[in-house]
């Protein structure tokens, strides 16, 4: 552990549970026998890449024959990414400690580069196989979109046998001018997993970064995201949803830096903490002096349904210009009594009614996942966690 490792005395880390990572052994062993991997539904038209403990397992040829993804040695990856992240890491200190650890200890990187004007669709699955006691895995993705390029990217972190894997993932993103990245991240690791990830993104002028983050698994998870809207009219759509059941802790820190004129952000978080679940979403918006006519809209809502559940939704604004639109709202509440009574008055079981209302709450965010098969997959995962929603038939708009 280096001196620069975060702890809960740091404001941005106060809700994170870092103990599992501190306890886990550094590296997952290579060549562990593979169990049968869970097989999420394939996404039509997407090129699948599969990694186990962050090591390459298999991939299919890209549809259309254009290979945009390559495996790089972790040490070479930094050069391939033109040092963008390294410069940020060097400057930013403790918040990047986990990403630094990933860069130092990871073996390989999946590097996706979509050239100017090209379009790709890639589905990356990272299976965590090793137990935390055996070793931590360090998945890493690097994504570069050229001018007016488009990438639809699914990034799924899934379990694979061990009840308590430890994962420290990192993702570096560069969205070129006029390019669009639609990035759906799903964390559905094992119940006792510890999952940490750091995402750094840079969006050039008129670039769009549509990020959807769905966090369901792990006893302890922490997502750290830094998005820099570096070019004029760069836009970020950051939609996050989480269900923390039992004793799960899901912690998010998202900083979006509006560093150019007309930069725009829409940030939505919907999180449910049941039983003794804990949730925290710390959404920091920075609007720089030169970012006139920037537009930032934050809506952070958490729902508590357990007697021991805790949640904190914290919007933070740092604004250095007058010419800006900044709206933010944060609520932490319980199920709406009027809605509940309405459902009960229609004969619906209390437990089912409560689950339906939880569903409705989180669906507000999940419905923003554009790709229908992926959204339906997510909806079925969420429904399974709200175990009284036994059937989605008719509940979800399929249109």
């Amino acid at each position: 552990m280096t001196a620069a490792f975060p702890d809960t005395r740091d404001e941005n880390w106060r809700y994170a549970n870092l103990r599992p990572l501190a306890k886990a052994r550094p590296e997952a062993p290579a060549g562990v026998a593979l169990p049968s991997l869970p097989d999420p539904p394939p996404l039509e038209g997407y090129q699948p890449w599969v990694f186990v403990d962050a090591r390459y397992l298999r991939h299919s040829p890209a549809p259309g024959g254009h290979e945009f993804a390559t495996r790089l040695d972790a040490r070479a990856a930094g050069d391939a990414f033109a040092g963008m992240l390294d410069a940020e890491i060097a400057a930013a200190g403790v918040d990047f400690a986990l990403a630094r650890m990933n860069a130092r200890r990871g073996d390989e990187v999946l590097h996706i580069a979509v050239p100017d004007g090209e379009h790709a669709a890639i589905d990356v699955r990272f299976h965590a196989l090793s137990a935390g006691g055996t070793g931590t895995s360090y998945p890493r993705l690097q994504v570069q979109l050229g001018r007016h390029a488009r990438l639809d990217l699914a990034e799924r972190h899934l379990g694979a046998g061990a009840p308590d894997p430890a994962v420290n993932a990192a993702v570096d993103v560069s969205v070129g001018a006029g390019a669009t990245l639609t990035h759906v991240r799903i964390q559905d690791c094992a119940e006792q997993a510890s999952v940490f990830d750091t995402l750094v993104a840079n969006v050039a002028e008129h670039g769009q970064y549509r990020l959807r983050t769905i966090t369901l698994g792990a006893v302890s998870s922490r997502t750290t995201a830094f998005v820099k809207l570096a070019g004029r009219a760069a836009r970020c759509d950051f939609i996050a949803a989480s269900v923390a059941n039992g004793i799960q802790t899901h912690d998010f820190f998202a900083e979006i830096d509006h560093a150019a004129p007309e930069a725009a952000t829409r940030e939505i978080f919907r999180g449910i903490a049941t039983a003794r679940g804990k949730l925290a979403f710390n959404g920091k918006m920075i609007v720089r002096e030169n970012a006139h006519d920037a537009d930032s809209d934050q809506s952070l809502k958490t729902l508590l349904t357990g007697s021991g559940a805790e949640a904190a939704a914290r919007p933070q604004l740092e604004i250095y210009t007058d010419r800006v639109k900044a709206r933010h709202g944060a609520t932490t509440g319980k199920l709406d009594d009027q809605m509940l009574f309405y459902l009960l008055s229609r004969g619906i079981d209390r437990q089912q009614a409560q689950a339906l209302l939880q569903w409705a709450f989180v669906e507000d965010a999940i419905s923003q996942v554009e790709l229908a098969p992926l959204r339906q997959h997510i909806e079925s995962l969420v429904a399974a966690r709200l175990n009284e929603v036994s059937s989605l038939d008719g509940l979800v708009n399929r249109s």
Partner: protein, 249 residues
Amino acid sequence: MMLKIENLSATVGGKKVLQGLTLSVNAGEVHAIMGPNGSGKSTLSYVLAGRPGYEITSGSVTFEGRDLTTLAPEERARAGLFLGFQYPVEIPGVNNVYLLKAAVNARRKALGQTEVDAYEFLQLVRAKMKLMQMDESFLSRGVNEGFSGGEKKRNEILQMLVIEPTLAVLDETDSGLDIDALKVVARGVNSLRSANRGVLLITHYQRLLDHIVPDQVHVLARGRIAKSGDKTLALELEKRGYDWVIEAA
């Protein structure tokens, strides 16, 4: 006797609202409850439906021979009681059609019947929607989400028609409706009238009763029934107001 309310007193937030209300509704009858603001009309509907916070302090309510007060709200609904809300609640994220189906199946289960067939259900809902002059697109929308006041009231009646309750308590279903919508709502309610069903129609205004002709009209004042009569009582109230009834009580 379908519904028998005897000497019912109830409080809301510690305040006495119902004070010794007695009322009986037989199967096949439509009873209108009228009365000035604050007389306890909505409280009566919520007490019957079992809304938390509405505490019965004395008296009894028997519904088809069962003590209604011992049942949870969902059990009352499954037993055949339906409350049409004065202010229907919006529930984004839960589809109308899902709610309808869940409600119908809850009732069927209570009656020992199997779940409704999906195709037949949709046919039934479509027919009822036609009667209520509602577009089918309402089915896939969130419950009451973004509906106008009139659309919400139609949706309440649609739910009632699909659930087919034994006793419908309709709380100011006519408020906020223009005359055309009022006729549509009245047509829906009239279509449900039958020898084995009862309706408790809570309203401020006589005009609804031009379209849904009641068997009895009651005036609720200061938490109890101050006067009862046939449909002509509503016409008299329309002319003379409520004061004469309250003073005489």
